[in-house]
């Protein structure tokens, strides 16, 4: 099958035409509270291109049927379209075989699956799991629950005030007790791009396995699991232009083979009797029950869209926009930016002096600017900086300079209201 890697988008030799890309995203073209929408919340969820929306409609109108074990035409169409996505995800991540791609509900389920099926069976009291201070709660809580259950210890790589991991401290934490390391590639609350290759290599040198939370990375960075050498990596479709409720887990084939099933049910078995059940091969062993068929197929279309634009070109556009936004925001009186790592993408997390993040969010919404406010499911990061919440603007491939200008104008409006 011809891959998107080999078929450049007609745009790919042109300068990045963000206005043309915006035309593909219907939600962007609306007014909110009398202002053109400036959608700066892609870190929470991305908007969807028309092709993804059309795909869902087409599936339910034309092809809807359950997958596997159906011999009728609709079931065959659904099965072929569904299973083709495994190959798309494999190529998107550069995994070596489709068997290494497990469909999950999203990053959270990917992390929990690995916690339950890979880490739990090998964990003994006093073993250690290492995570970092800038994790999303979904890369903290599953490990904490596991530690509580087994008597293992959770160790945390600290970060500095720029929001960068202190790697010397990570190397000190590593020991023969380290069994597993799980870190975020890109921090959702700060935008820091972590040196994950070095982390994976060091974990392997200690005999530990390593996992990446790639939820915030896949929309912005080229992923190559073979080059990274990670044992597991997981992401959510909805952060990368696809529907909610679906995502993928990459796991090295030999590790997946060695793992027990995640849930029991249909589709994950080979034979069932009341005495014994033998399980299906990987990855089906981990996919009990009727899968999320339509959203999986639409996830494939989302990845096609991203690859057709070209992730390097997206990254280049977003980097320029982030530089522009950082310069513009820095000039807003009383602003404090969180996350100023040398290597970062997409995220602008900030506070305005004397104004709570939620008031900022409401006033920005009144100007048509959509941002996220709160702890961003990263309370330890808020604790590090001694703040209860921040306002966070996040960039996607469809954002333009006008979105940033609307944000800055909105912040001036906040200052105006609060200085009365």
């Amino acid at each position: 099958m011809e891959t998107a890697r080999n078929t450049p988008h007609p745009l790919s030799n042109d300068p990045y035409d963000v206005e043309k890309i915006r035309q593909d995203f219907p939600t962007l073209h609306q007014e909110v509270k009398g202002h053109p929408l400036a959608y700066l919340d892609s870190g929470a969820t991305s908007q969807k291109p028309q092709t993804v929306i059309d795909c869902l409609k087409h599936f339910y109108e034309q092809d809807n049927a359950n997958v596997h074990r159906g011999v009728h035409t609709l079931s065959e169409r659904a099965t072929l379209a569904y299973e083709a996505v495994r190959g798309k995800v494999q190529r998107f991540l550069n995994a070596s075989t489709e068997k290494e791609i497990v469909f999950v509900r999203g990053t959270t389920e990917g992390l929990n699956l690995v916690a339950q099926c890979h880490v739990r069976p090998m964990l003994k009291p006093d073993d250690e799991i290492i995570i970092s201070e800038m994790e999303h709660h979904s890369n903290i809580v599953p490990w904490q629950m596991l530690c509580k259950e087994t008597g293992a210890q959770l160790k945390v790589i600290p970060m500095n005030d720029q929001g960068e991991l202190i790697m010397e401290r990570f190397y000190e934490l590593l020991s023969p007790r380290t069994k597993f390391v799980s870190v975020t590639w890109v921090a959702n609350s700060l935008g820091t791009i972590n040196p994950v290759k070095a982390i994976i290599d060091a974990a392997h040198a200690q005999g530990a396995t390593a996992m990446l939370d790639a939820a915030q990375a896949v929309p912005h960075l080229t992923v190559d699991v073979q080059a990274l050498g990670c044992d597991f990596l997981t992401f959510s479709s909805h952060k990368v232009l696809g529907p909610t409720g679906i995502g993928a887990l990459f796991g090295k084939e030999n590790l997946l083979e060695a793992m027990p099933p995640y849930q029991g049910g249909g589709d994950m078995i080979r034979t069932v009797t009341f005495e014994e059940t033998t399980y299906a091969e990987v990855p089906l062993k981990f996919e009990a029950g009727t899968p999320n068929i339509a959203d999986t197929i639409a996830m494939g279309v989302a990845l096609d869209y991203l690859e057709s634009v070209g992730i390097e070109r997206v990254a280049g556009h977003e980097a320029k926009l982030l530089t522009y936004a950082t310069e513009q925001l820095s000039e807003v009186p009383g602003i404090r930016l969180f996350g100023t790592a040398a290597s970062k993408c997409s995220v602008l997390s900030f506070l305005l002096d004397g104004v709570h993040a939620h008031d900022v969010g409401t006033i920005l919404d009144g100007n048509g600017v959509a941002v996220r406010t709160g702890h961003h499911c990263a309370q330890p990061v808020m604790t590090h900086f001694g703040v209860p919440a921040t306002t966070r603007a996040t960039l996607g491939l469809y954002n333009n300079q006008a979105d940033i200008d609307a944000l800055v104008a909105g912040l001036h409006r906040v200052s105006e209201i609060f200085s009365r």
């Binding site: 939620h358 009144g366 919440a389 609060f418």
Partner: protein, 149 residues
């Protein structure tokens, strides 16, 4: 724009800038409760000194957005000297104002508290305005802590 002015009225901004009875735990305080709004990270503690059924003094502590801070501040002003029964009645009126559908004018007895009604147009922020009031009821009931989640 005008809608935003309705929410961030001068009265609310003033109470946010200079919260009354804050931070304060009055002498003779015998009823306290902590409330938090996990969605926003707003935290508030309401302290009441109640003698013979009358709120003789009141104060609050905590951190929150302008809406929750102003609401708590205005609550302390409204309730000082009121009976426990009056406090419960006022809670019911405020609660109705914050959650009622339709465009009815707020009850005249609410007085200055009527400005909190502006939050009705911002469903995500209603909990910010109601937090202090729920916490006050928890303090009256000696429930210790409450949450708007």
């Amino acid at each position: 724009m005008s809608e935003l002015r309705d929410l961030y009225e001068e009265v609310i901004l003033d109470h946010n800038r200079n919260p009354r009875n804050y931070p304060k735990r009055p002498e003779g305080c015998n009823h306290s409760a902590a409330g938090n709004n996990p969605l926003c990270g707003d935290d508030v503690e309401i302290h009441l000194a109640i003698h013979e059924g009358v709120i003789t003094d009141i104060g609050f502590e905590g951190d929150g957005c302008a809406i929750s801070t102003a609401s708590a501040s205005m609550l302390t002003e409204a309730l000082k000297g009121k009976s426990e029964a009056q406090a419960r009645e006022l809670f019911a009126e405020v609660h109705t104002m914050l959650t009622a559908t339709g465009n009815d004018e707020p009850d005249a007895t609410l007085g200055k508290l009527a400005v909190l009604g502006g939050v009705k147009d911002y469903p995500m922020r209603v909990k910010c305005a109601s937090l202090a009031w729920h916490t006050m009821i928890a303090a009256l009931n000696n429930a210790g802590s409450t949450t708007t989640e």
